[in-house]
């Protein structure tokens, strides 16, 4: 149902071309891993989809809706949620409050509603219950009332996932989810990502350096180099693609 279509996306920084006519499609419910050597343009593309950058040309559509027309603070309302490489959490809020904050785009009532307390209590109660259930799903319920700090990186990564899921996204963007995790934490996160994809019917795009993880969880892999797509296909296909091998290891001697 939720299909992400990246079509001819180019991005120039001054004279440098970071992305050059990049196109690929992630089918509904697929996990797509974006790989490539440093400077290949993975993060640039990621930032275009999550609306931090505005590409010079091209189109990025989610279910036929142009995301490039949506400002950054509205993408959550358009079904896109993301996590951050260095944790996008709010340390002075509790686990539960962090998760509730993730649902911000779905809520209503600004300052006036808050001050006059119009229809807030009921919505807050329901959101609390829903956020708590999300924490239960991710095995974080016992930490619900603790601040989102002083916990292991893996735990906080899971909380970030809960926070992203609270927005009820159709497309989930994961920025280097394995970064900074121990070996066992990576395995655990991989299975969690797959599980939430199945349970919540998500389409997932992830940028990741951890090859074992990408190859393990992705349905399709897009390999990039110098801002261009050099390969696309199943993990097995991409792994054996000569262009990918040469991008990572250098061209074989003639």
């Amino acid at each position: 149902m939720s299909e992400l279509r990246v079509d001819g996306v180019s991005m120039h920084f001054g004279g440098i071309t970071a992305l050059d006519g990049l196109s690929f499609t992630i089918g509904s419910g697929q996990i797509c891993g974006l790989i490539g050597p440093n400077g290949a343009g993975k993060t640039t593309l990621f930032n275009c989809v999550s609306r931090i950058y505005q590409p010079s040309a091209g189109s990025i559509c989610l279910d036929g809706e142009e995301l490039l027309d949506v400002p950054a603070h509205r993408i959550a309302g358009h079904g896109v949620a993301r996590t951050f490489q260095n944790l996008g959490l709010f340390p002075s809020l509790t686990f539960l409050e962090n998760t509730m904050a993730g649902a911000h785009a779905r809520g209503r009532g600004g300052y006036l509603g808050s001050i006059l307390r119009i229809g807030q209590a009921r919505a807050e109660r329901e959101l609390r219950a829903e956020a708590f259930e999300l924490l239960e799903v991710l095995g974080l319920a016992d930490l619900a009332f603790l601040p989102a700090a002083h916990q292991s990186f893996g735990t906080l990564k899971r909380l970030e996932l809960a926070r992203a899921l609270a927005a009820r996204p159709r497309l989930l963007l994961l920025d280097e989810p394995a970064g900074g995790l121990t070996h066992s934490e990576v395995d655990e996160l991989s299975s969690t990502i797959r599980r939430v994809r199945d349970e919540f019917g998500l389409t997932i795009l992830l940028v990741e350096h951890h090859m074992a993880m990408v190859m393990g969880i992705s349905d399709i892999v897009v390999a990039m180099n110098f801002g261009e797509k050099i390969a696309e296909g199943t993990p097995a296909e991409v792994r054996s693609d000569p262009a990918v091998v040469s991008a990572y290891l250098g061209a074989p001697a003639a």
């Binding site: 009532g109 001050i115 609390r128 219950a129 259930e133 799903v137 926070r163 994809r197 349970e199 399709i220």
Partner: protein, 373 residues
């Protein structure tokens, strides 16, 4: 009995403790006029006014994380708006307070716009400029403000009732007015902070990019926050005008803003009671040091006491009290009750128990299996 005592949120003991706390505050507020001499009560009113301004600053700087060195100007805008309307136009003071708050809200939003792009030192400088300009503005438009000579004769006369008779009655009246104003300010801050908007404010302070991605409209949240903070400072200014009766530009110098910042930090930033306690500390501390010694020594003692307090109470008075309180009483938060909504999809699997409402139909893809295009 072993300490700490654990109380569960929402149970009778917990409600009793909360009710008891409210009752204690109300009792102290009502009993105070009968316990202290009128001139002492007048001092309490002064401290309450400082506390209101600190509550306003705390909303912006404590909860919102944006520093302001210009709050003396908002305090001044409120004071002069009230002063001019009451003396020159004969307005009823509470109406003038409200208009003063509106003026401050508008000025605050205008200052808040550049504040969107600036932070830290740079924001401090912009707000500092506002604070520095204000006394000069007062002197420049002296036909309106009375300039350096001052604006005189601002008063808010007590209603014609035996309870408020005489000079002591007038002091009592202003005390109650200040109490109501502080209560209104606190209710404003409390309501903003405890819901969706409050989470957005703290989220922006803690991690701005993440907050924006979650749908927080930074422009609206930050500018309106600035405006409301300024409006509360303006309310304090209006009270200051009717309490002192005289306004001169020197009352609204940079030093006043510094006092507010010290009050906020001493009391405990980003807490509800912090700025109130801080307001009282910063009002009474110079009075006490002035009684103990005189001349420059009093100022030195005042400064030393502040340094000692900041070092011993890193999270302010409220933070210190909170840690002390946690040894005696722990409130166990209540887990939200699961929703039993029949319209929602049944649980995915037995071990999951409850499925979140966000669930969409399950995908047919086998986990990990590659999907052919």
């Amino acid at each position: 009995m072993a300490l700490p005592i654990t109380v569960h949120e929402g149970t009778m003991p917990h409600r009793g403790i909360r009710l008891g706390r409210v009752a204690l505050v109300v009792a102290v507020v009502l009993a105070l006029p009968y316990v202290v001499a009128p001139y002492r009560l007048d001092q309490v009113t002064g401290a309450l006014i400082l506390a209101i301004a600190a509550v306003g600053l705390n909303l912006l700087s404590g909860f919102g994380g944006q520093i302001s060195l210009g709050h003396a100007a908002f305090f001044g805008f409120g004071a002069y708006t009230t002063g001019i309307l009451v003396t020159d136009h004969g307005w009823y003071p509470p109406v003038a307070f409200v208009l003063g708050m509106l003026v401050c809200f508008v000025v605050g939003v205008l200052v808040g716009v550049p504040a969107l792009r600036l932070r830290g030192m740079y924001l401090a400088l912009v707000t500092l400029a506002v604070g520095v300009i204000f006394p000069s503005l007062v002197r420049r438009f002296d036909s309106l403000t009375g300039g350096s000579a001052g604006l005189f004769g601002i008063s808010f006369d007590a209603p014609d009732h035996a309870y408020f008779a005489g000079r002591a009655g007038q002091i009592l009246w202003l005390y109650y007015v200040a109490v109501v104003a502080l209560a209104v300010s606190c209710l404003l801050v409390w309501n903003i902070m405890r819901g969706r908007t409050g989470r957005a404010i703290v989220a922006l302070r803690d991690n701005e990019p993440a907050a924006i991605v979650m749908g927080v409209d930074r422009t609206v949240v930050r500018t309106v926050l600035f405006g409301i903070s300024a409006a509360i400072a303006g309310l304090a200014g209006g009270l200051f005008a009717v309490d002192t009766g005289i306004l001169t530009p020197d009352s609204f110098s940079l030093l006043f803003t510094i006092y507010l910042l010290v009050a906020m930090v001493l009391g405990g930033r980003a807490s509800f009671w912090g700025p109130i306690i801080g307001g009282f500390v910063i009002y009474y501390l110079p009075l006490w040091t002035g009684e103990l010694t005189d001349g420059p020594a009093a100022g030195v003692l005042f400064g030393i006491l502040i340094i000692v307090m900041v070092f011993t109470l890193r999270e302010g008075v409220v933070g210190g009290l909170g840690r002390l309180g946690a040894r005696v009483l722990v409130v166990e938060p209540r887990r939200p009750t699961p929703r039993f909504d029949l319209s929602e999809a049944p649980p995915v699997s037995a071990d999951q128990g409850i499925e979140p409402a966000a669930c969409q139909p399950r995908q047919e893809t086998a986990a990990g299996a590659p999907l052919a295009d």
